[in-house]
Symmetry: C2
Subunit: 191 residues, 2 copies
Amino acid sequence: MARSRLTPERESELYATVIDLLGEVGYDGLTMDAIAARTRSSKATLYRQWGSKPELVAQSLRHHKPVRIAEIDTGTLRGDFHEMIRRSDDCRMEKDSAMMRGLAHAVSENPELLQAMRALLIEPEMTGLDLLLRRAVARGEVDAGNPALGLVPHMMIGALVARPLIEDLPVDQAYLTTYVDAVVLPALGAP
Amino acid sequence: MARSRLTPERESELYATVIDLLGEVGYDGLTMDAIAARTRSSKATLYRQWGSKPELVAQSLRHHKPVRIAEIDTGTLRGDFHEMIRRSDDCRMEKDSAMMRGLAHAVSENPELLQAMRALLIEPEMTGLDLLLRRAVARGEVDAGNPALGLVPHMMIGALVARPLIEDLPVDQAYLTTYVDAVVLPALGAP
């Protein structure tokens, strides 16, 4: 018997909806019912195709591809960071910030979800950042022994998470550019 | 008719339990039932004394006094930061980090809770940090126009939130000291 599978377009739409809902209601508040209602699909389809909420969330994260950092190569570290920010539109950054806050607690309770988030979201970003930083070291812009080299993801997560908490303002390109210029590059001793 | 009020000791215990539970189950998962059960008090007492969950959480945050940063004055910015970290024991920092992750999403949905968290937790820390930074500027350790001066809380929140997400390790004194020396002081151009 043929099983009704979603088309790739419908699947993309569904993943995007999961990311939106994650930002709106958080992981605990995210229900299969709400996903089914907003995407106008049946819960049976969701369970048949993804098995469970953690798996569906993990797949949505995987689909929610971050900006491909590794492709960026402007010739300077400052240029690379600015290009990375330029490629992320403001709306997308706000969603990422909301999604990260939505997941912040859930991942500490769900080892599988933390694993998925780390494998799908954090590690590719870190690999991309790492490549970008290694090129800066090779060009002599950053000292190979600089202890801030391993802390760039921490600084960037701080930028994303802290802005709405402290200033009640969304993360946008202007703010992130200021943050990179004022914090990340000076910590790295980069021009 | 005399109403049974909690003793200050019982009240402190209760606030500490709320902070613990917040780190364990997150804001959405925190129920008045669970608080009543763990503190062996009646739900009626909780509602009579605090009215609602957001108010009880806000009061618990208020009671959960951060290290009094403003009192610290070692004569150098590096010394002040190190002293600040020395006064926060590892267990406390892990709890703060868990609590922050537990609240991260909830505050974006509850303007009152965000208000409370900002007034009780973020603003005193920022005032304390600000004092410490202004003294460093007065001593000539940091340039008054350094754009990183306004971003120190963002860097510190990044340090607290990112460590468990990225490395699956708790925040501790050694890590925070490394972070301050490698990121915060260089961004400020401080010795």
